[in-house]
Protein backbone atom coordinates (compact mmCIF):
# COMPACT_ATOMS: atom_id res chain seq x y z
CA UNK A 1 0.00 0.00 0.00
CA UNK A 2 1.24 3.47 -0.92
CA UNK A 3 0.93 5.53 2.23
CA UNK A 4 0.11 9.21 1.67
CA UNK A 5 2.31 11.68 3.53
CA UNK A 6 0.01 13.74 5.77
CA UNK A 7 0.80 17.44 5.33
CA UNK A 8 -1.99 19.10 7.30
CA UNK A 9 -2.98 18.70 10.92
CA UNK A 10 -6.24 16.72 11.16
CA UNK A 11 -7.22 18.82 14.14
CA UNK A 12 -6.50 22.45 13.17
CA UNK A 13 -5.60 22.18 9.43
CA UNK A 14 -2.16 23.86 9.94
CA UNK A 15 0.83 22.50 8.02
CA UNK A 16 2.57 19.65 9.84
CA UNK A 17 6.32 19.62 10.49
CA UNK A 18 8.76 16.73 10.68
CA UNK A 19 9.80 15.88 14.24
CA UNK A 20 11.74 12.68 13.83
CA UNK A 21 13.78 10.98 11.10
CA UNK A 22 15.16 7.47 11.24
CA UNK A 23 17.83 5.55 9.34
CA UNK A 24 16.29 2.36 7.97
CA UNK A 25 19.63 0.54 8.12
CA UNK A 26 21.14 1.31 11.56
CA UNK A 27 18.03 2.72 13.21
CA UNK A 28 19.76 5.99 14.14
CA UNK A 29 17.14 8.57 15.03
CA UNK A 30 17.33 12.33 14.49
CA UNK A 31 14.95 14.53 16.41
CA UNK A 32 14.14 18.16 15.75
CA UNK A 33 11.52 20.30 14.09
CA UNK A 34 11.82 20.53 10.32
CA UNK A 35 9.45 22.06 7.78
CA UNK A 36 8.39 19.86 4.88
CA UNK A 37 9.88 20.93 1.55
CA UNK A 38 7.46 23.08 -0.44
CA UNK A 39 7.09 20.43 -3.14
CA UNK A 40 5.83 17.97 -0.50
CA UNK A 41 3.21 20.46 0.58
CA UNK A 42 1.64 20.46 -2.88
CA UNK A 43 -1.15 18.04 -3.79
CA UNK A 44 -0.19 14.60 -5.11
CA UNK A 45 -1.45 15.61 -8.59
CA UNK A 46 0.67 18.75 -8.58
CA UNK A 47 3.75 16.80 -7.44
CA UNK A 48 3.21 14.31 -10.25
CA UNK A 49 2.82 17.17 -12.75
CA UNK A 50 6.15 18.67 -11.63
CA UNK A 51 7.92 15.30 -11.97
CA UNK A 52 6.42 14.72 -15.43
CA UNK A 53 7.34 18.27 -16.42
CA UNK A 54 10.97 17.66 -15.42
CA UNK A 55 10.98 14.36 -17.36
CA UNK A 56 9.63 16.20 -20.41
CA UNK A 57 12.67 18.53 -20.20
CA UNK A 58 10.40 21.38 -19.20
CA UNK A 59 8.53 21.29 -22.49
CA UNK A 60 4.84 22.17 -22.26
CA UNK A 61 4.34 20.90 -25.80
CA UNK A 62 5.59 17.42 -24.84
CA UNK A 63 3.53 17.56 -21.65
CA UNK A 64 0.41 18.43 -23.69
CA UNK A 65 1.08 15.48 -26.01
CA UNK A 66 1.67 13.08 -23.13
CA UNK A 67 -1.42 14.22 -21.23
CA UNK A 68 -3.55 14.41 -24.39
CA UNK A 69 -4.55 17.95 -23.50
CA UNK A 70 -4.19 21.27 -25.31
CA UNK A 71 -1.13 23.46 -24.78
CA UNK A 72 -2.99 26.31 -22.99
CA UNK A 73 -4.71 23.81 -20.63
CA UNK A 74 -1.33 22.45 -19.56
CA UNK A 75 0.16 25.96 -19.29
CA UNK A 76 -2.77 27.03 -17.10
CA UNK A 77 -2.15 24.03 -14.83
CA UNK A 78 1.51 25.04 -14.54
CA UNK A 79 0.45 28.62 -13.72
CA UNK A 80 -1.84 27.26 -10.98
CA UNK A 81 1.05 25.29 -9.47
CA UNK A 82 3.31 28.36 -9.63
CA UNK A 83 0.63 30.33 -7.77
CA UNK A 84 0.37 27.58 -5.13
CA UNK A 85 4.18 27.58 -4.70
CA UNK A 86 4.23 31.39 -4.36
CA UNK A 87 1.48 31.23 -1.73
CA UNK A 88 3.31 28.51 0.22
CA UNK A 89 6.56 30.50 0.07
CA UNK A 90 4.78 33.62 1.33
CA UNK A 91 3.20 31.63 4.17
CA UNK A 92 6.62 30.24 5.14
CA UNK A 93 8.13 33.73 5.28
Amino acid sequence: MNKKLPIRCPSCESFLKVKQLQCDKCETEVSGLYSLPIISQLSIDDQKFILDFAKASGSLKIMAQNMNLSYPTVRNKLDEIINSINTLETNED
Binding site: N68, L69, S70, Y71, P72, T73, R75, N76, D79
Partner: protein, 181 residues
Protein backbone atom coordinates in the same frame (compact mmCIF):
# COMPACT_ATOMS: atom_id res chain seq x y z
CA UNK B 1 -10.29 15.09 -16.95
CA UNK B 2 -13.90 15.33 -18.14
CA UNK B 3 -14.16 17.12 -21.48
CA UNK B 4 -17.35 18.39 -23.08
CA UNK B 5 -16.73 18.59 -26.80
CA UNK B 6 -19.99 20.44 -27.43
CA UNK B 7 -19.14 23.60 -25.56
CA UNK B 8 -15.59 23.23 -24.19
CA UNK B 9 -13.43 21.24 -26.62
CA UNK B 10 -10.46 23.52 -26.05
CA UNK B 11 -9.23 21.56 -23.06
CA UNK B 12 -8.05 19.11 -25.68
CA UNK B 13 -7.91 21.08 -28.95
CA UNK B 14 -6.18 24.43 -29.37
CA UNK B 15 -3.40 26.06 -31.36
CA UNK B 16 -2.66 24.91 -34.92
CA UNK B 17 -5.05 21.95 -34.84
CA UNK B 18 -8.06 24.10 -33.96
CA UNK B 19 -6.92 26.75 -36.46
CA UNK B 20 -6.85 24.25 -39.34
CA UNK B 21 -10.17 22.55 -38.45
CA UNK B 22 -11.78 25.95 -37.88
CA UNK B 23 -10.52 27.39 -41.19
CA UNK B 24 -11.94 24.42 -43.10
CA UNK B 25 -15.25 24.99 -41.29
CA UNK B 26 -15.13 28.71 -42.08
CA UNK B 27 -14.60 28.04 -45.82
CA UNK B 28 -17.49 25.53 -45.91
CA UNK B 29 -19.74 27.97 -44.00
CA UNK B 30 -18.84 30.78 -46.41
CA UNK B 31 -19.48 28.55 -49.42
CA UNK B 32 -22.91 27.45 -48.10
CA UNK B 33 -23.66 31.09 -47.28
CA UNK B 34 -22.78 32.01 -50.89
CA UNK B 35 -24.97 29.21 -52.32
CA UNK B 36 -27.96 30.13 -50.15
CA UNK B 37 -27.46 33.92 -50.03
CA UNK B 38 -27.00 34.08 -46.27
CA UNK B 39 -24.90 37.02 -45.11
CA UNK B 40 -23.14 36.36 -41.80
CA UNK B 41 -21.86 39.93 -41.55
CA UNK B 42 -21.02 40.00 -37.88
CA UNK B 43 -21.74 37.67 -35.01
CA UNK B 44 -25.02 39.37 -34.20
CA UNK B 45 -26.28 40.09 -37.70
CA UNK B 46 -27.94 37.96 -40.35
CA UNK B 47 -29.13 39.09 -43.80
CA UNK B 48 -30.58 37.22 -46.73
CA UNK B 49 -29.55 38.19 -50.27
CA UNK B 50 -27.86 36.50 -53.22
CA UNK B 51 -26.08 39.65 -54.29
CA UNK B 52 -22.32 39.00 -54.22
CA UNK B 53 -19.50 36.70 -55.26
CA UNK B 54 -18.22 33.88 -53.06
CA UNK B 55 -15.23 36.06 -52.07
CA UNK B 56 -17.53 38.58 -50.41
CA UNK B 57 -19.25 35.93 -48.27
CA UNK B 58 -15.82 34.57 -47.38
CA UNK B 59 -14.56 38.04 -46.47
CA UNK B 60 -17.56 38.63 -44.17
CA UNK B 61 -16.62 35.54 -42.18
CA UNK B 62 -12.89 36.25 -42.25
CA UNK B 63 -13.27 39.88 -41.17
CA UNK B 64 -15.50 38.93 -38.23
CA UNK B 65 -13.16 36.13 -37.13
CA UNK B 66 -10.00 38.29 -37.37
CA UNK B 67 -11.66 41.21 -35.62
CA UNK B 68 -12.92 39.06 -32.70
CA UNK B 69 -9.53 37.35 -32.40
CA UNK B 70 -7.59 40.63 -32.41
CA UNK B 71 -9.74 42.14 -29.64
CA UNK B 72 -9.60 38.96 -27.56
CA UNK B 73 -5.83 38.81 -28.02
CA UNK B 74 -5.43 42.46 -26.96
CA UNK B 75 -7.60 41.80 -23.87
CA UNK B 76 -5.45 38.78 -23.05
CA UNK B 77 -2.24 40.77 -23.46
CA UNK B 78 -3.55 43.50 -21.18
CA UNK B 79 -5.09 41.38 -18.45
CA UNK B 80 -3.52 37.92 -18.40
CA UNK B 81 -0.50 37.07 -16.30
CA UNK B 82 0.09 33.92 -18.36
CA UNK B 83 2.26 33.73 -21.44
CA UNK B 84 -0.53 33.61 -24.00
CA UNK B 85 -0.05 32.48 -27.60
CA UNK B 86 -1.70 34.27 -30.53
CA UNK B 87 -2.30 30.94 -32.32
CA UNK B 88 -4.46 29.72 -29.42
CA UNK B 89 -6.71 32.79 -29.61
CA UNK B 90 -7.05 32.69 -33.42
CA UNK B 91 -7.38 28.90 -33.40
CA UNK B 92 -10.03 28.64 -30.70
CA UNK B 93 -12.03 31.57 -32.07
CA UNK B 94 -12.17 30.17 -35.61
CA UNK B 95 -13.17 26.73 -34.30
CA UNK B 96 -15.88 28.43 -32.20
CA UNK B 97 -17.50 29.62 -35.43
CA UNK B 98 -18.39 26.09 -36.53
CA UNK B 99 -22.02 26.31 -35.24
CA UNK B 100 -22.55 29.32 -37.55
CA UNK B 101 -22.79 26.78 -40.38
CA UNK B 102 -26.31 25.92 -39.11
CA UNK B 103 -28.18 28.88 -40.68
CA UNK B 104 -26.77 28.51 -44.22
CA UNK B 105 -27.01 24.73 -43.88
CA UNK B 106 -30.73 24.68 -43.10
CA UNK B 107 -31.28 27.26 -45.84
CA UNK B 108 -29.87 24.74 -48.31
CA UNK B 109 -33.02 22.62 -47.78
CA UNK B 110 -35.26 23.27 -50.83
CA UNK B 111 -38.32 24.36 -48.80
CA UNK B 112 -36.28 27.03 -46.97
CA UNK B 113 -34.47 28.49 -49.99
CA UNK B 114 -37.12 31.14 -50.58
CA UNK B 115 -39.57 32.58 -48.10
CA UNK B 116 -41.85 35.54 -47.53
CA UNK B 117 -40.69 38.29 -45.14
CA UNK B 118 -41.94 37.68 -41.57
CA UNK B 119 -43.22 34.20 -42.47
CA UNK B 120 -42.82 31.14 -40.23
CA UNK B 121 -39.97 29.97 -42.50
CA UNK B 122 -38.04 33.16 -41.81
CA UNK B 123 -38.62 32.87 -38.06
CA UNK B 124 -37.52 29.23 -38.16
CA UNK B 125 -34.23 30.23 -39.78
CA UNK B 126 -33.80 33.02 -37.21
CA UNK B 127 -34.39 30.57 -34.33
CA UNK B 128 -31.72 28.23 -35.72
CA UNK B 129 -29.43 31.21 -36.22
CA UNK B 130 -29.92 32.37 -32.61
CA UNK B 131 -29.14 28.87 -31.32
CA UNK B 132 -25.95 28.83 -33.44
CA UNK B 133 -24.93 32.30 -32.19
CA UNK B 134 -25.46 31.35 -28.52
CA UNK B 135 -23.48 28.15 -29.08
CA UNK B 136 -20.70 30.12 -30.81
CA UNK B 137 -20.56 32.68 -28.00
CA UNK B 138 -20.27 29.90 -25.38
CA UNK B 139 -17.44 28.32 -27.39
CA UNK B 140 -15.71 31.70 -27.88
CA UNK B 141 -15.96 32.38 -24.15
CA UNK B 142 -14.48 29.00 -23.20
CA UNK B 143 -11.75 29.33 -25.84
CA UNK B 144 -10.83 32.80 -24.52
CA UNK B 145 -10.90 31.56 -20.89
CA UNK B 146 -8.51 28.69 -21.62
CA UNK B 147 -6.26 30.56 -24.07
CA UNK B 148 -5.75 33.56 -21.77
CA UNK B 149 -6.18 31.91 -18.34
CA UNK B 150 -8.48 34.66 -17.13
CA UNK B 151 -11.05 34.27 -14.36
CA UNK B 152 -14.05 35.98 -12.77
CA UNK B 153 -14.95 39.58 -13.62
CA UNK B 154 -11.76 40.20 -15.67
CA UNK B 155 -12.75 37.35 -17.95
CA UNK B 156 -16.44 38.29 -18.29
CA UNK B 157 -15.99 42.06 -18.75
CA UNK B 158 -13.06 41.80 -21.18
CA UNK B 159 -14.94 39.18 -23.20
CA UNK B 160 -18.10 41.30 -23.52
CA UNK B 161 -16.10 44.43 -24.45
CA UNK B 162 -14.03 42.49 -27.02
CA UNK B 163 -17.15 41.05 -28.69
CA UNK B 164 -18.89 44.44 -28.81
CA UNK B 165 -15.85 46.23 -30.24
CA UNK B 166 -15.26 43.46 -32.76
CA UNK B 167 -18.89 43.73 -33.91
CA UNK B 168 -18.49 47.48 -34.48
CA UNK B 169 -15.22 47.00 -36.39
CA UNK B 170 -16.70 44.13 -38.46
CA UNK B 171 -19.69 46.26 -39.54
CA UNK B 172 -17.44 49.23 -40.34
CA UNK B 173 -15.02 47.18 -42.45
CA UNK B 174 -17.83 45.37 -44.30
CA UNK B 175 -19.63 48.65 -45.07
CA UNK B 176 -16.36 50.17 -46.30
CA UNK B 177 -15.94 47.10 -48.49
CA UNK B 178 -19.46 47.48 -49.92
CA UNK B 179 -18.93 51.17 -50.72
CA UNK B 180 -15.59 50.46 -52.39
CA UNK B 181 -16.99 47.73 -54.69
Amino acid sequence: MKINYLYAPFTRIAGLKSLLIGLIGLFITAYLAFLTGTHLNGLLNLDFAKDADFVFYLLENLINWVSISVFLFLSGLLLSKSRIRIIDIFGTSVLSRLPLIIAPLIRSFPFLQSFVFQSWKMYLIIVFYLVSVIWTIILLFNGFRISCNLKNERLIISFIISILFSEIVTRMVIYLLIFKT
